[in-house]
Symmetry: C2
Subunit: 454 residues, 2 copies
């Protein structure tokens, strides 16, 4: 039986980052990473394996950083454990001093009649499965996607690129329901302009066909013919290991952890999609599953395995993410207006539109829209949504840093940022600042008399 | 004689932003903006008028935001003042309650023999002058640029795009001397690959020709033939108005102002390039002149004209800027390593390289390099330099927000950011975080025994 100082279960971004962080912090300790998938996928790259990338193999999370840091890798599945000993499906037994569970999440298959027909696929994080799906896509012409969240829309965008007839069916009234309506409407416009069909406010009640899928039936009785159905209805945390290991977990929410990602058992941590998360502002349970969040948790746990080196009062998940549909990028961090309303957060909205180059006649210029949600009384920035060109990917990270630092309207108003004709909006219309100014104007318009007290 | 509540002198980004901010904050006040240039240029867009933009008119700072906010505009020059009355060159007299000077800066003409020859140009912020230069560029083939800072390099890049034979002469050992050597070396590589010639560590002692420029002579005696010389040796603050108005100023540094940009005289403010500035970390005089800094000052003064509404302990200038040379973007915020060394700031460097898409085989992927300068004892991020694809423009703004918020290595290490295959680097190699990890590893590698105390 081999003994390791640190055992990490799971080869996705959380597990890999945690292993690297552990080796950085404790170079003398031996670390092993046990994973089910010998060729783990880059999770957010999966939609792009269907058309943009030539091969699914182009989307493998490479082993070189692990090997360079001398992290051992075992390709096997965890079956059970006894105290500090783990049994693997390959028959090996392994002892640990510290254990990190980074078991990830799995695609949800909704309870729909006909979901076991040939030609019905989930968006799984498994190389062989995706190779199969890619092959099936090539042979299909009419494709229905169930679920118009980020992944569903990304998959639709990919399939449109390869000339397929694509229909998205989404239960909510707009696409990307994690963002406010105006952003979903824009996503819908982009997909439509590229030839996609969108059915919102409807669900699929039945998948029809003999052995092979032939059509889907909606809740209003309408039928959509198709030869392939891709189901993208979200993911749920893998809690099987917690069950096996007798750790506290909540079905659907994940493994329960404290501020330092420690489970109910000393020396056992859980990170990434399999660990339960809470919202940054509202503290409610959060089903946001993001590689970047998983990675932040992996880094923290990697540093803190043997003693708490990095202090962190758990702030909850901001849920910063971005995507690109057609030629338009979309991104969000923190609270949107819909959720602010629903959770009774008193808020003030600031809006701005600009062109992301200046002057606007420069090549590559694209319109960018910023919507900010501020706390009306405490003045903190609580959330940001953006759509525009590719710079949106880092713009949302700047906004995320602002939210994390509890910046207020006035902090942002006196911000020192850089602008350049070929790279950003003009300083005069820089949309993050102008959206803040817009909010400030709403705050103070009711009290113009204050200026009389000069 | 007309009386205005607020008089702003200067129609550049500082003046315009201040006028808009004043109208937002004090909608009942009447505001006039007096400007010398009736068609003011977008300053940072000027290099792109030479080739990328069809016409110099495409680079005009438009009046529509001012007109929409009901700011009056007078195209005239300020000549003198008596108390609270200003005399203009068009004969008008104007009374003010609050006065803001946003007179900008002017291109420096070095003391070189032959600088008055035909075919010798500065990079002035004047439409007619630039139209003339653009015309001259069309007629020229061999062009020498004196000065390899941002603007010189941007002009070189533009002229190369239109097929000219371009030589840059820069006194320092590398181009863009405000950045560390490795970035200047990369800029040199980009310019060379596009056919430009670069002479560093040399200066021009003489411009040769009868009436019209024919060549330049370097300090080592070498001669470079040319039919056009563009001089880009920096800018100096316009302090003529301060002189006329009997306000405190320092030659070469600018009009002296306090934390709230108030001059030596009550009710008179100075903002933008014409106001003296100090460095964020070292407090030394800073000659950084940026539209984005000017704009931040404009917004502050606009709000604070009649009472201090926005509290701001003056933090000094970070000097956040970005540019794009060929297909590579460069950016800096805060302290670079050279200056950290020179000013005896105890520092630790973190480096990271990554690809700005993931997987790296996605179209448009470009290498990005991040160099961070941390304070060794206080652990604050003091400076950041980046080069890579176009996302660098907003990446540097995120870094600027981090510096302004005094974020430490550990704050950055536990950051929640978003990543997307089509927009950013992979979360596992996200370069801002990995450069921070690199610095952390250097800090702690000397004390591996700490981990024994578990």
């Amino acid at each position: 039986m081999k003994k390791y100082d640190i055992v990490i279960i799971g080869g996705g971004p959380a597990g890999v980052t945690c292993a690297l962080s552990a080796k950085n912090t404790y170079p003398q300790k031996n670390v092993v990473l046990i994973r089910k998938e010998s060729k783990p996928m880059i999770p957010c790259g999966i939609p792009y394996t269907l058309s943009t990338l030539e091969s699914v193999s182009d989307n493998i999370l490479v082993d070189s950083p692990l090997l360079k840091s001398r992290v051992e890798i075992i390709n096997s599945e965890v079956q059970s454990r006894e105290g500090k000993t783990i049994c693997l499906s390959n028959g090996d037994e392994i002892q640990f001093d510290k254990l990190v569970i980074a078991a990830g999440s799995k695609a949800v298959m909704p309870n729909i009649e006909g979901s076991s027909l040939e030609g019905v696929y989930l968006v799984k994080k498994n190389k062989e499965y995706l190779e199969n799906l890619k092959q099936q896509v090539k042979l299909s012409q009419k494709i229905v996607i169930l679920g118009g969240g980020y992944i569903g829309v990304e998959v639709a965008d990919e399939l449109l690129k390869s000339g397929k007839d694509v229909t998205i069916v989404e239960m909510s009234d707009t696409l990307i329901p994690t963002m406010d309506d105006e952003f979903g409407v824009k996503a819908q416009e982009v997909i439509s302009n590229n030839g996609g069909k969108i059915i919102t406010g409807k669900s699929i009640v039945r998948i029809l066909g003999d052995n092979v899928v032939e059509a889907v039936e909606l809740n209003d009785g309408a039928k959509v013919d198709c030869d392939l159905v891709v189901i993208s209805c979200g993911y749920k945390p893998n809690i099987e290991i917690a069950k096996n290991f007798d750790l506290l977990y909540e079905e659907g929410k994940g493994i329960l952890v404290d501020d330092y990602l420690r489970t109910s058992e000393q020396d056992v941590f859980a990170i990434g999609d399999c660990a339960a998360k809470y919202d940054f502002f509202t503290s409610e349970f959060s089903n946001v599953m993001l590689a970047s969040t998983a990675m932040a948790e992996g880094r923290l746990v990697g540093s803190n395995l043997f003693s708490i080196k990095v202090i962190r009062k758990y702030q909850g998940v901001l849920g910063t993410f971005s995507t690109k549909i057609g030629d338009t990028a979309f991104a969000i961090s923190g609270i949107n207006e819909r959720r602010a309303k629903k959770r009774k957060l008193d808020y003030t909205i600031g809006y701005a539109k600009a062109v992301d180059r200046h002057p606007g006649k420069l090549p590559g210029a694209k319109a960018v829209t910023v919507k900010l949600v501020f706390s009306t009384y405490s003045h903190h920035l609580m959330g940001a949504q953006v759509m525009g060109g590719e710079s949106v990917g880092e713009l949302i990270n700047m906004l995320s840093v602002m939210i994390l630092n509890k910046m207020t309207d006035i902090d942002i108003n006196t911000l020192q940022i850089g602008t350049h004709p070929m790279l950003t909006a003009s300083p005069v219309v820089y949309p993050v600042i102008n959206a803040t100014t817009d909010a400030i104007k709403q705050w103070y318009r009711i009290q113009p008399q204050t200026e009389m007290v000069k």
